[in-house]
Amino acid sequence: MNKMGLEEYKGVYVFAQQVDNQLSGIALELLGKARDLAKDLDTEVAAVLIGSDIKNLADTLAEYGADKVIVVDDPELKDYRTEPYTHALASVINKYKPEIVLVGATAIGRDLGPRVSARVQTGLTADCTVLEIGDFPLNPIPNQEQKHNQLLMTRPAFGGNTIATIACPDNRPQMATVRPGVMQKIEPIKGAKANIEEFNPGFTPDDKYVEILEVVKSVSDTVDIMDAKILVSGGRGVGSAENFKLLQDLADAIGGTVSCSRAVTDSGWLPRDLQVGQTGKTVRPNVYFAIGISGAIQHVAGMEESDIIIAINKDEDAPIFDVADYGIVGDLNKIVPQLTTAIKAELANK
């Protein structure tokens, strides 16, 4: 790996993910965090916008905090494919030499990030929840240089049971992926205009350019569970797809949304966009009902920040009770329908 000339690398860069020429929320969230980091480093924030006919999105990126927008616009970049996007982002990195590159930990970013990091020969830290500027090592160690102004990347591991802070002291850029919903976007600066730089490294299809035969969008009119204030979440203990009717009724009564654990999507009872957990979505609603969910740590990692957790499970030793504010040992098939009725009655009396 090339460990020379680290000081040449400047600026905090964000991969501004877009799909169907719409910016993904994560792009704006990353810009919010990038501004904090750039302030600490006294440097600029750049958004890297990759796609086909996407220049019109640049001003929005400026409104959310990008000092500069590097646009890589090419017909080969219409739909996400690993190789041309890797070529685009890696070429931007090689040309502009950013010190930090942030990528969303999305189905796109978790493919693009590792491929780019391997191409530009640097480290990548996955699924970070905290990013800050600090020293590495954190405390001085005799006979070892302590480097300042390093990106310290904190991430859960082991399904959220341990938490590690990671640095990339000898390679540039320092790269991290960040899960959606973790960082805060800024209040948009109305009327901000992007300082656009267009860059096209040239795209020559080869065997690494896969062919997209078909794009199949899932038709979903459901609320995004990441936005829900109340989630009624079911697990394997619900027993069947049909039995989720009980949870839907409860959700309807209390104004909530149904979500689920991985066991449920693995069984095909509910679609994957409703899955909470390490391989699903991270949620932090006001109230989280965990019904028939044992509480594997991968699930808990995705919901433990909820304000109030109410668990119903017939197994009194279920680990979900270790994180629940209110745990009820009992049969969900009996409790949930009666709870629905009682909530309706309670609300009718108000």
Partner: protein
């Protein structure tokens, strides 16, 4: 057709994690398993064996005891197991791990490499795509429904709100989701044979086109600054009501005092 499957031995976290009295994870008390996404990848490879007569080689990097997952893979029907183990490979991050596995795979003939999407201990999902980059072949992450079409592979590549039907020329690397399939069980005969089967063990010397500077802890660009056990919120109340009515009134009481309803 030749298929290489990369698997990892991980601690079993499903359905119950053991904690020490101080709240830290008791790794010693937990069993090890084949990582679930990797097992789905192996199952996908074995189906290609059933359908097209593919030869399936399973590769793992780890401590000598990782041999167990190779024997499990052989008992499920894999043809060959290769253990990559060496003191100098320890402490590797995803960059060094993918460099190592690519160095091992360069010894092998392959049309398709299948890895799991991610391991349940690290959860990075980085090693598969990084191997493909080191080997300069296409990658399709988050793959379901793998089909062979002449010299190409056709798969469904999953995204949050859609999937792409993608065709890639082989050789190619695919990362598999545990939702891909239901992995088969080991057969009694398979278990018996797997106990006696020869496991190939490779060390540093067997890695092709790999620089020492890119291996193990020293060759890992990411360094751990601090690791700690997460402070959990801890358990709240737990009740075991005698009747559903009692359970319901308990929940209603909480929902009203917290102003949810």
């Amino acid at each position: 057709m030749k298929v290489v499957v990369c698997v990892k031995q991980v601690p079993d976290t499903k359905g119950g994690v053991k904690f020490n009295p101080d709240g830290t994870l008791d790794r010693g008390a937990m069993l090890t398993i084949m990582n679930p996404d990797d097992k789905a990848g192996l199952e996908a490879a074995l189906r290609l064996k059933d359908e097209y007569g593919a030869e399936v080689t399973v590769v793992t990097m780890g401590l000598p005891k990782a041999e167990d997952v190779l024997r499990e893979a052989l008992a499920m029907g894999a043809d060959k197991g290769i253990l990559v183990t060496d003191r100098v490979l320890g402490g590797a991050d995803t960059w060094a791990t993918s460099t190592t596995l690519a160095g091992a795979i360069r010894n092998l003939e392959y049309d398709l490499i299948i890895t799991g999407r991610q391991a349940i201990d690290g959860d990075t999902a980085q090693v598969g795509p990084q191997i493909s980059e080191h080997l300069n072949i296409p990658v399709i992450s988050y793959a379901q429904n793998i089909k062979i079409d002449g010299d190409s592979v056709v798969v469904e590549r999953q995204y949050e709100d859609r999937y792409h039907v993608v065709k890639a020329k082989m050789p190619c690397l695919i990362t598999a989701l545990a939702e891909l399939n239901e992995p088969r069980y080991m057969t009694p005969g398979g278990i018996f044979d797997a106990l006696d089967a020869e496991i190939t063990t490779w060390g540093r010397a067997n890695l092709v086109d790999v620089d020492d500077a890119n291996l193990g802890l020293k060759g890992s660009p990411t360094k751990i600054a601090k690791a700690s056990d997460k402070v959990r919120k801890g358990a709240g109340e737990k009740v075991a009501p005698d009747s559903p009515e009692e359970a319901v009134s308990y929940i209603i009481d909480k929902l009203t005092t917290k102003h949810v309803i």
